[in-house]
């Protein structure tokens, strides 16, 4: 347009300009109309354009301030009128005690104010339209608030003022409390009032009335309410009920902020809830009689989930759960440990004073085995239980997992027989428990055992027991399935590495090679001489197998000697330079014995066979004294007594002892019991032995383990020093501890002893500072 103006010189002036009517007249007309708009009548007949033009004219002809202040006055007057006529009469009668009446009164007040607010805002927006020209020009130059803003300001000054404001706040708080007590209130009434408070700002840029005045009062009130509620609930409810109530409070408060309170208050309110309902009663709730322990006992997953959710809301909650879990597991673990040791100790006193002999030991042993199995099973059950709870209720929380593991590990290791028990459990499972189960079941059972195994601090102890048990299974052919055995081995390998299972695998290898050898040997036998007895040999590499090397010997009868010699020759032909040592204690024999009534196939140990064979030459009813037997067989006293006992005093009495009795003494004599009867064709005569170690055996195992540990520690020290050449004492001890901790918990004192031993043997030398060592190549 500007270019157009410049080009053409003639510009027609616009039509006459100047007020057609006087300002006074304009204002009187306009002010009447404004009043009409405020009173909300007659608006339909009013022309927008006329009023707009009036306002336009007044601004244009320098009467803006008159228009502005006049309008303000009219609006303020109107609001004051309303406050007097509508609001104040609806104040609640303050003395009224009845909550329901008070509720209704509050509602009335809130509704009145809300109605006035709605009318006011709609009026102000209408005025805003008419006075648009004023807002665009006059308010800017005069630097005063626009129509809408002064509308809010007037409302604040004339309606939201003392004492109306206080009454409103009290009304809102009362309504809130009323609802918290569990009654229904008119939420929209409260919501209306809250919205008014939210949109009014007493000072420019400052907080809203809600933030500045209602919220602090609200929070204070909430705090009081929940502090009391927390106390009451704690004293009156059991733990699950308490948690349920608390959870529903959380939800109702959340809902409240969504429905009629400001969202800004949500976090503050939740904070109060957390503080007074959760944090304040953490310990009290969880350690109630109906607390965590009981919930776990009764498997109340829902309650536990709730517990977890609520407790993780506050910083201390998780720790509290962890503590409680630890305590719970420790207590249960202690029970399990005590139960198992109670079974054992219950037997021991009854055994000793009665002097009933070794048969008692057998039952005691069986009982101990049962207690071992029960212990492991109990631990597994407990683990399953807590795992279930952990998965479902605790959302597989990592921190809780760590706590669980710690707790389990500590109580498992507090049972000093744990390694043996676990190995026995596996042994038992592989021997008979797994029969008829599917591969998947086997895998599952073994996996579970591995879980407990992981908790073991002294895995080398376990290895020793496992080796012994495995050897027995292999030699006696008691293992149910080779696959299961190998599966277990593979699992151990995964857990502890190649070295751990190296010897165990060696044992398996020996078994396989021996089987091949036997086939070859049988072919060899078939092609040459025929022997009176069949022989089956397992060649065991001495370093792999946990058997003692100084095996008990005995003089073999001619037939057996021949057989062994024949195999030895065969074997030596194949492998020169090897030495075979016969481990007769581990062998067994099948022999057919002719009794008076019928023939029986007896399965006996090699030694027992040797003893039995002695009676072959004794005539019917003849005796052999203990001494004679000993001389003929040259078996050691303890072994001989053991085998005689199993032949003459156990369930199947193949020999007769004179005089009869449970114990075998050196003055006894024996005769063949030709009158022996049994329903079974095949009879297995087990050698009397206990499965769980006796005290002495345990000490021996312990010693052996200690020795092994000494070697390992030394090897470890040398390995480290060879690598580093020079190291301070503390560093060395730390490093050794770190490396060995996968196998057992090394004692720093012991490590120090080993270092000294190595210095003596000149592997290491002390440096001059007396604190560090050098490696001597």
């Amino acid at each position: 347009m500007a270019t157009g103006v410049r080009r053409k010189s003639k510009i027609k002036p616009p039509k006459k300009y100047g007020p057609d009517v006087s300002i006074d007249e304009t204002w009187s007309e306009l002010s009447t109309n404004i009043r009409e708009i405020l009173n909300r009548d007659n608006v339909t007949n009013m022309s927008f354009e006329v009023n707009h033009r009036h306002a336009y004219n007044m601004v244009l002809f320098k009467a803006g301030d008159r228009l502005y202040n006049g309008t303000k006055q009219i609006v303020a007057g109107r609001l004051q009128e309303l406050a007097q006529s509508d609001v104040i009469p609806s104040f609640p009668a303050s003395a009224s005690g009845d909550p329901t009446t008070r509720n209704q009164e509050n509602e009335v007040l809130l509704k009145v104010v809300k109605r006035i607010w709605d009318d006011h805002t709609s009026n102000m927006s209408k005025l805003g339209q008419i006075l648009k020209y004023m807002d665009r020009y006059y308010t800017k130059s005069a630097e005063v608030p626009e129509t809408w803003e002064f509308g809010l300001d007037l409302f604040l000054k004339n309606i939201i003022r003392s004492p109306i404001k206080e009454h409103l706040i009290t009304a809102v708080l009362n309504q809130l409390e009323f609802e918290r007590e569990g009654y229904m209130i008119n939420r929209s009434a409260v919501k209306g009032c809250v919205e008014i408070f939210l949109s009014l700002f007493p000072s420019a840029g400052g907080p809203s009335v809600y933030k500045g005045e209602l919220e602090p009062a609200l929070l204070k009130e909430t705090e009081m309410f929940y502090r009391n509620l927390g106390q009451t609930l704690r004293d009156t409810c059991d733990a699950p009920e308490y948690l349920r109530r608390v959870e529903s409070r959380f939800m109702s408060e959340e809902e409240r902020t969504q429905h009629y309170l400001s969202r800004h208050s949500a976090s503050s309110l939740q904070q109060i809830l957390k503080e007074y309902l959760v944090t304040a009663h953490l310990e009290a709730t969880i350690s109630k009689e109906s607390g965590l322990d009981a919930m776990i006992d009764t498997n109340k997953v829902e309650d536990l989930t709730r517990l977890y959710k609520l407790y993780t809301l506050v910083p201390k909650g998780l720790d509290c759960i962890k503590q409680a879990l630890k305590k719970s597991i420790a207590r249960r673990g202690k029970d399990i440990n005590e139960a198992s040791s109670a079974i054992e100790s219950a037997d021991e006193p009854s055994e000793e004073p009665k002097e009933k002999g070794k048969i008692r030991v057998v039952t005691a042993g069986a009982q101990t085995l049962a207690s071992a199995l029960k212990w492991v099973q109990d631990v597994l059950d407990l683990k399953d239980k807590f795992d279930g709870v952990w998965k479902v209720a605790f959302e597989t929380d990592r921190e809780i997992e760590v706590t669980l593991n710690e707790a389990f590990s500590s109580f498992i290791n507090s049972n000093d027989k744990c390694a043996e028990y676990i190995s026995l459990f596996i042994d038992d499972n592989l021997k008979r428990g797994l029969k008829g189960k599917s591969d998947a079941d086997i895998d599952l059972a073994l996996d579970k055992t591995i879980i407990i195994f992981r908790y073991l601090a002294e895995q080398d102890v376990f290895e020793r027991y496992y080796k012994t048990h495995l050897a027995k299974r292999l030699i006696n052919g008691r293992s149910v399935s080779d696959d299961a055995e190998r599966g277990m081995l593979a699992k151990l390998k995964v857990e502890c590495g190649y070295q751990y299972t190296q010897k165990l695998e060696g044992m398996f290898n020996d078994m396989k090679i021996s089987a091949d050898h036997m086939e070859d040997y049988k072919k060899h036998i078939a092609s040459s001489i025929t022997l009176p007895i069949e022989v089956s040999v397992i060649v065991m590499t001495s370093t792999f197998w946990p058997m003692s090397h100084s095996a008990a010997t005995c003089t073999l009868p001619e037939v057996m000697l021949k057989a062994t010699k024949s195999f030895e020759q065969f074997y030596m032909k194949k492998h020169t330079g090897r030495r075979l040592t016969w481990q007769l204690t581990l062998g067994s024999a099948d022999v057919r014995v002719m009794f008076k009534n019928r023939k029986h196939d007896l399965n006996v140990s090699t030694f027992a066979l040797v003893i039995l064979l002695l009676f072959e030459d004794v005539e019917e009813g003849g005796f052999l004294t203990y001494e004679e037997i000993k001389q003929a067989t040259s078996i050691e006293d303890s072994e001989l007594q053991r085998h005689l006992q199993s032949l003459a005093c156990a369930k199947y009495k193949v020999l007769k002892k004179h005089p009869p009795g449970r114990d075998v003494s050196t003055s006894d004599s024996f005769s063949f019991n030709s009158g022996f009867t049994s329903n079974l064709q095949k009879i297995k005569i087990g050698t009397v032995s206990s499965k769980v170690e006796t005290g002495e055996e345990r000490k021996e195992t312990r010693d052996r383990i200690d020795e092994e540990r000494r070697h390992q520690t030394e090897a470890c020290i040398v390995r480290i020093m060879k690598d580093r050449k020079h190291m301070t004492h503390n560093d060395l001890v730390n490093e050794v501890t770190r490396l060995l901790s996968t196998r057992f918990k090394p004692n720093p004192m012991k490590i120090k002893q080993r270092i000294e031993g190595l210095i003596e043997r000149e592997y290491l030398e002390r440096c001059e500072d007396r604190k560090s060592y050098n490696y001597l190549a």
């Binding site: 027609k12 354009e49 336009y56 339209q129």
Partner: protein, 123 residues
């Protein structure tokens, strides 16, 4: 008057949706009796006209869907409407706005008058 905004055809029905979308027709009348039918969305380009025709208010203008421009001649109202149509068309458009096209259509003689009217109508 042979400009685009004037039309003899008045749509026979007006639905609520049309009002909301500004697709219904409103009438603007100049002080010398010229009457213009424009779509509501075009009229809404002026704050003053838009407010007066606001369906939620109950002024005489919105009841009759007629706005009287009591201070302006037909030619001025026409130019206002031309600009309002132009603004309605291009305010959502991307790219260049051909400002010159509109400027050339305003005769210099009435420029001041148009300017005053534009100020009054919040354009």
């Amino acid at each position: 008057m042979d400009i685009d905004t004037q039309t003899e055809v008045e749509p026979h029905t007006t639905s609520q949706g049309d009002i909301e979308n500004g697709e219904d027709w409103v009438r603007l009348v100049s002080n010398d009796g010229f009457s213009f039918l424009v779509r509501r969305k075009v009229a809404n380009m002026s704050g003053t006209i838009g407010n007066s025709l606001d369906p939620s208010s109950s002024y005489a203008e919105s009841e009759t869907k007629t706005y009287h421009a009591t201070n302006d001649r037909g030619i001025i109202v026409q130019k206002l409407i031309e600009y309002m149509s132009f603004k309605a068309h291009y305010s959502k458009a991307k790219g260049d706005v051909p400002i010159n096209e509109l400027m050339e259509r305003i005769p210099p003689e009435i420029v001041l008058e148009v300017l005053l009217a534009a100020d009054y109508h919040e354009l």
